[in-house]
């Protein structure tokens, strides 16, 4: 027999399968393979007999009586009731944080914020609140006025030039 060692009662390649076979965990193909092997291998047959003798001994059954189960159920009901009462006050507070409520709450907050900002536009603004874009515009505006001024200056220069030309022409 292949792979037998003195410490093993079954063929090494069959040992795990025999344990599963004992528990009825096998495929049809696997069962046929094991059964064929068992017919020809006394070591594996003995191993299986050993499992059949030993493993049921390890089960220690406790079968409590009906009063035990009645008491059991009563205690569980009391514990569940107590747990329900204990959690109800904070559940009430945190119920808003339940998964479906979080996005709804966030959407409502954004909507209220947007509405508030739209309706109160300009009323709360101070110098410090001016957005950067508008701040730049405020800085550019005086410069533009200056530009107009300088454009006027150009115009005056042109007038001076015409006068000079006229004078020279007259002369």
């Amino acid at each position: 027999m292949a792979n037998m060692t003195p410490a093993q009662a079954a063929c090494k390649e069959y040992e795990e399968d025999l344990v599963l076979y004992y528990y009825g965990e096998y495929s049809e193909k696997g069962r046929d393979r094991i059964q064929t092997h068992l017919k020809n291998c006394s070591s594996c047959s003995r191993f299986l007999d050993e499992l059949r003798a030993l493993l049921p001994l390890t089960v220690k059954i406790d079968e409590p009586s009906q009063p035990f189960w009645e008491s059991y159920s009563r205690e569980v009901r009391q514990k569940l009731a107590a747990a329900g009462e204990k959690t109800s006050w904070w559940e009430g507070i945190f119920s808003f944080l339940r998964p479906w409520r979080v996005p709804a709450l966030a959407t409502a907050m954004v909507f209220i914020l947007a509405l508030t900002l739209t309706l109160t536009k300009g009323t709360w603004r101070t110098r410090g609140d001016v957005p950067p874009k508008e701040e730049t515009l405020l800085e550019v505006l005086p410069m533009a006025e200056n530009l107009e001024f300088f454009k006027s200056m150009d115009f005056l220069d042109s007038l001076d030039l015409l006068e000079d030309m006229g004078e020279s022409g007259v002369a």
Binding site: E16, E50, T58, W69, S73, L80, A83
Partner: protein, 193 residues
């Protein structure tokens, strides 16, 4: 509660109702699984009071964390996971299993425990306290994962795939755990067969 009686509803429906705050629905789940839960806890502890406390605690935790339960899984797999973790945690905390013999237990019961003890079967009577202690000690020596897989298979008769779901591991790993556990028990208890 809907028009159907809780005992007529499937686990899935009961869980949905319990998640909506119907405690009666969860109480029906307790009725449905209390014996199996107790038995698993007893497999780990071999002590009636500890098994009762642990299994009740598992129900309580399941109830308070019901919002975390994913309906795609089955309730009992999820619940067994809670229970097994509690049992393993109980062992990790260093609680020593007393391994009382049935004789000792029955004496205790006779001394006034209102809960009647199970009538001993002929098999049990034939087993001496010494043998029970040896078996208990051999099981106690198994690493937690091997022990869990072995108990769920050997004592509770769960399928390999169910055990894999409870232990959140691959089926191949479960098979290995069971095989190793059986090998270790054979070595420890060779004298019994």
């Amino acid at each position: 509660m809907e028009t159907s009686r809780p005992e007529e509803l499937g686990d899935e429906k009961l869980v949905t109702l319990a998640q909506k705050g119907e405690r009666k629905a969860f109480e029906e789940l307790v009725e449905r699984y209390k014996q199996k839960a107790y038995r698993i806890a007893f497999d780990f502890t071999r002590d009636r009071e500890e098994a009762k406390d642990l299994s009740q605690e598992a129900f309580l935790r399941a109830f308070t964390h019901l919002d975390r339960f994913d309906q795609r899984a089955s309730f009992y797999t999820w619940f067994y996971r809670i229970l097994v973790n509690l049992c393993l945690d109980y062992r990790r905390r260093g609680q020593r299993v007393t391994w009382q013999s049935f004789e000792e237990r029955e004496e205790k019961v006779a001394e006034g425990n209102e809960i009647a003890a199970a009538a001993p079967t002929p098999d049990r009577q034939a087993m001496s306290g010494e043998i029970l202690r040896k078996i208990g000690a051999a099981l106690n020596l198994l690493p937690p994962k091997q022990r869990t897989a072995f108990l769920l298979k050997n004592h509770e008769g769960l399928s390999i795939s169910e055990i894999a779901k409870v232990m959140q591991t691959a089926e191949g790993t479960v098979k290995t755990h069971i095989h190793r556990a059986v090998t270790a028990l054979r070595q420890s208890l060779a004298e019994l067969v």
